[in-house]
């Protein structure tokens, strides 16, 4: 019997498959040759490509998440600073960036943005495939994605390798020409204050989250059984509010730093709105980790700017500062870094 009943039916299926292949290859090629070259320095995949190819021995890279991207203004920190921060990136991504950077014959410092979720290991959430796909010819990238179980078979097929990411690329291309965003060597800074009302909404949301967590914990402590949903909510609230101490990953980072004693690792907890820190009950663990780094590992320098005093008008929301906030923060950080690098034996420089 003829597959699909009749010759005409078979032709229809085959023609659909052929059209699908042509459409996929067509879009793929247009993207490869006309769209991707238009990326600017704020595109995440551009940043990866740049880091892999950059050979300037004096470049000072900044690694971090969106908090880092909107906090470190390269122009304020030095001519050779480039901000490689990208949204959601924590040490799942930073380890790869560090390995790439440390393989270079350099001895300059590396700035790393630190936050309470820096060491959470969630590659499915933190490693954005669209960042890495344009560089998938690089074996190190392939190995990295593979190690983190982020590479699908279909991504090796020409025509569908960018599937699911086209809009994200277009978005990063249009990012520069829209709104009040100002870019500077990889950093994106927002010259915008949402207003007291909206900021209050963001901060209230954080306080309500803390309230909810405490309410559920009290309920549990008093012996009232929690429903399955409540247990799930509580777990999520605890993950999102406390400092996630992942000893294995911290040890991995420390080993990296010790192995490359010629490089200074400047860890910076960027400014946060007080509401964002209010629920972090184990902040003392951040303090002790920073103290341990500052005292026991000579080339890790930890700066805690989390409580850096900024008025509300310097925030974009409760967890990100705006351009004005970034300016004030960078001015202070610049002084500290200069002090540190020139007089590295002065513990007062550390906050």
């Amino acid at each position: 019997m003829i597959p699909f009943g009749t010759t005409q039916g078979l032709k229809l299926v085959i023609s659909t498959l052929v059209i699908a292949a042509l459409v996929a290859l067509g879009i793929d090629q247009v993207f490869q040759h006309f769209v991707l070259p238009l990326r600017t320095d704020i595109s995440n995949s551009y940043k990866i490509e740049r880091l892999l190819g950059e050979t300037d021995p004096e470049e000072i890279p900044v690694f971090g998440s969106s908090k880092g991207r909107s906090s470190f203004i390269p122009d304020s920190l030095g001519d050779k600073v480039f901000n490689y921060s990208m949204e959601k990136a924590n040490f799942d991504v930073i380890f790869f960036l560090l390995e790439t950077e440390l393989a270079k014959d350099k001895d300059g410092p590396i700035i790393i943005e630190f936050n309470t979720r820096s060491f959470v290991h969630r590659p499915a959430h933190t490693i954005d495939l669209s960042t890495f796909m344009p560089i998938k010819d690089n074996q190190a990238v392939i190995d990295y994605l593979d190690e983190n179980d982020r590479l699908d078979d279909f991504q090796l097929i020409p025509g569908v390798r960018y599937y699911g990411s086209y809009i994200r690329y277009l978005r990063s291309l249009t990012r520069k020409v829209t709104s009040e965003k100002i870019t500077n060597r990889g950093g994106i800074f927002i010259d915008y204050y949402p207003g007291d009302r909206l900021l209050k909404r963001f901060t209230d949301s954080r306080y309500k989250m803390i309230e909810k967590r405490e309410e559920l914990e009290d309920k549990m402590a008093s012996g009232i059984p929690l429903t399955y949903m409540e247990v799930q909510v509580l777990e999520q609230l605890q993950i999102n509010s406390d400092f996630a101490v992942n000893k294995e990953r911290i040890a991995k980072f420390e080993a990296m730093a010790k192995e490359h004693s010629n490089r200074d690792f400047i860890m910076v907890f960027t400014p946060h709105h007080p509401s964002e820190l209010a629920g972090v009950r184990n902040f003392n663990k951040v303090d002790s980790l920073f103290t341990q780094w500052n005292t026991a590992i000579p080339n890790i320098h930890a700066f805690d700017y989390s409580r850096f005093e900024l008025p509300d008008s310097c925030f974009k929301n409760s967890s990100h500062i705006n351009l004005e906030g970034a300016r004030r923060f960078c001015a202070a950080l610049n002084d500290d870094i200069e002090y540190l690098l020139n007089e590295s034996d002065s513990p007062e420089a550390y906050r």
Partner: protein, 466 residues
Amino acid sequence: MLFNSLDYLIFLPLVVAAFYLIPHRYRWVLLLAASYYFYMCWKWQYIFLILISTMVDFYAGIQIAKTPDKKKKRWFLMLSLCVNLGFLFYFKYFNFFTENTSILLSQFNILADFKYYDILLPVGISFYTFQTLSYTIDVYQGKSEPETHLGYFALYVAYFPQLVAGPIERSTRLIPQLRREPKVTPEDIRYAVNKILLGFFKKLVVADTISQYVNLVYANVDGTTGSQLYWAAFLFSIQLFADFSGYTDIAMGSARLMGVRLMENFKRPLWQENHSAYWANWHISLTSWIRDYIYVPLAKINESRYALMVWSLFILVLIGFWHGANWTFIIFGFVNGIVMLIQRSLRYTSFAKIIRSNPYTMHLQKFVNLNLLFLEAVYFRSVDVNMAHKIYGKIFTEFNLNIGELLSLYKFEFLMSIFVSVLLWGTILFNEKLKFKYNLLYVTGMLFLIIFLGQDLKNSFVYFQF
């Protein structure tokens, strides 16, 4: 195995090609093996539940038909009901009942700390359980003959295109189609290809794009405004429709490639004048199942006007509870039922007649009904009742038409969601009026949209959890 995976894109053509290559008498073996493989890709151990259900219902069906003794017939029916509903209760509702019992007892200072069983819900259990139950009940009621071929019966229970999320087929409709050698026409293939593409478009482009906005808003209820929550409720209803009807479209298309016509599950449900019409056109295979096997028997007990109102309300609550073991679903069903009863009681008033007499006011009525559906869906989407009430509180006190405020959070995700919703509406209209000569254009357009706008989130279908 998910429909929206590369695995399925390889699996389906292989099965279809093999289907046409082998003689018809062996096809049931191929399809059964393929169906079990399809299910076992998810969690192989749970295939034993399907096997037990299949064996019990096959045996019960034959025994019910064979024995003249009514009491024995009833015993075999009870056997089937107990096994199937027992599995469903254990895997889906057991923890809910123990949790609530323990909360209830704690009100009387009785500590009953039942163990919580971390049970993974077998995907599709609500669907195939209802499908097999309909078979046994039909045989018991003498509406259909028992299936004597175990292979075909097993295939009826586990037929892969509709195994995990329906449509819930009746044995009288599906088994004869599986038994008969299919006469597949080019029109069948055109229909199948178009349906599969439409399903992928609904799922990968529409549902998965909207889900990103809805998930962000629902994860941050405290930080979002009433307007954002209203639009999230609106978009969630579109997401749910695109997700579920997308699954059904792929199921129907896949089955039609092999000459099987599955029943329509959706007929423009969202744009209807009232809730009765909505439920008559939404998840038709479930609502018709419940009508035939629960509502009609109840109505036979007492068919007074008030009794019918109570039965209708009960049915809607049951439909809500079918979706999941959570009070949100129960309340969702209850509120739907109440709105439906109010709408029914207003149907014959002079005001309603005036509205129906004018096409513009009819559209207005559909719009109002649509908004009610969106608002009710807040219960459906919320994690718990408190969350739903918090959302309602914000929608009713903070809603405004300030675009700046609406776009102050998740602007890109919101605009993309609106864009794909409009695209869905246009596609459905175009699809309904599609002429054969434009089919190639349609196929090309759909493929372009799916490849260019499709999301690679690996999200399973929303209804898989039910």
